[in-house]
């Protein structure tokens, strides 16, 4: 869309209240939203959720746009869209209240953990993580432990577009379940997990892959692998503690 057309639509919406003009602008700029959302893909949140959140940012940018500033709408909208996506990560995906400072530090530590692991060829220590982000070790431990309150959502979302609902290589993993002893409480507990959790459990406990290897294989951060493993083991325990219902 030519910038002149965008400006005409902005005038129609902002000066004359034509909501259809705004809808048209949103439609035209959704590829920009998708492109920005894709930059945040693979961090534990479904991309489609990020696109929806980014779209809210776009609508806010259009509503706040000032015609007299003389900038392009797309230029103006980028910081608002990105800000909305970042806020989503910061505020919407934590299971319990965690102070914002700790959430932000936790996210920095998560990124730093992945970066240092790649640089060092091994997992960093707490001291190395703390030094890299410029906090003391106690603060780093606080934030790392607080990150366990993060609640990964939409774990049942398929992430293979070609085969919705199925994960690549899952048949191999399912054969792996058979390796668990019949009647084993863990084998029973696997039923409590969704496909993604089962896959991570199998990669870790049957194939013996490390968290960093799983992170690379599945395309998520090591911190997220840790959370998913933790949640998977919790769900398995929860299922096992449920009383049996008589037939």
């Amino acid at each position: 869309m030519a910038s002149g057309d965008q400006r005409a639509l902005l005038v129609a919406y902002l000066k004359e209240g034509d909501v259809r003009a705004r809808d048209r602008l949103v439609e035209e700029l959704m590829p920009l939203v998708r492109s920005l959302a894709n930059r945040y893909a693979g961090r534990g949140e479904p991309t489609e959720d990020l696109v929806q959140v980014g779209a809210i940012g776009l609508v806010k940018a259009i509503d706040r746009f000032e015609l007299e500033k003389g900038v392009e709408l797309s230029t103006y909208a980028v910081p608002t869209i990105v800000g909305e996506i970042r806020r989503h990560f910061r505020d919407r995906t934590w299971g319990v209240h965690v102070p914002r400072r700790l959430k932000e530090l936790s996210m920095r530590l998560s990124r730093t953990r992945d970066e240092l692991s790649a640089q060092l060829g091994r997992s960093p220590t707490v001291a190395e993580l703390a030094a890299a982000v410029g906090v003391d070790e106690e603060e780093a431990i606080d934030a790392l432990e607080a990150s366990k309150a993060y609640a990964p959502r939409s774990l049942d979302q398929p992430y293979d577009d070609d085969e919705p609902g199925r994960l690549p290589g899952l048949a191999d993993e399912e054969r792996g379940y058979a390796a668990l002893e019949r009647g084993s409480v863990v084998r029973q507990g696997l039923d409590a997990l969704d496909e993604r959790e089962r896959r991570i459990v199998v990669l870790r406990f049957l194939r013996g892959m490390s968290q960093s290897e799983i992170a690379l294989e599945v395309g998520i951060s090591q911190m997220h692998v840790s959370r998913l493993l933790r949640r998977a083991l919790e769900e398995m325990r929860g299922r096992l503690e449920e009383p049996e219902v008589p037939a």
Binding site: R113, R122, S123, P124, T125, V126, A127, L129, E137, A140, I141, L144, E145, K148, L180, E181, S184, V185, V186, R187, G189, R204, F205, L206, G208, S210, Q211, S212, Q222, S226, L229, R230, L233, R237, L240
Partner: protein, 116 residues
């Protein structure tokens, strides 16, 4: 570290987080890689699920090569083969021993290098 660090908590859900926090602090003091601390916590939480009350104790000791955790008392479910498989993947050595109290105790050994 030649001494033993011990923590005793009620053998009821909700106390695992307290034990994990202590282990995180201990792991940081011992300069363990973070993924090692994480797996030490995961293994401990897995064992704690088999604790038989009213309290459960975790004794941590360390030398230059490894960190040992002794956890108990535990129920017989701790010997479940599937659960052992999970623990075997997390720890370098897993032993179930009878304790002085006649109950089962788990002794987990973790090498002080990176996660397995």
């Amino acid at each position: 570290m030649s001494d033993v660090v011990s923590i005793t908590v009620p053998a009821t859900p909700g106390w695992g987080g307290v034990v994990e926090l202590v282990l995180a602090g201990l792991g940081a003091r011992l300069d363990l890689p973070y993924d090692r601390i994480d797996e030490l916590q995961l293994a401990t939480t897995t064992v704690l699920a088999d604790a038989v009350g009213p309290d459960v104790r975790v004794d941590a000791s360390s030398d230059t090569a490894s960190v040992d955790l002794k956890i108990g008392p535990l129920s017989a479910a701790a010997d479940d083969p599937g659960r052992r498989r999970v623990l075997d993947a997390l720890a370098d050595s897993v032993e179930l021993q009878p304790g002085d109290d006649g109950a089962t105790w788990a002794v987990l050994t973790f090498a002080r290098g990176g996660a397995r």
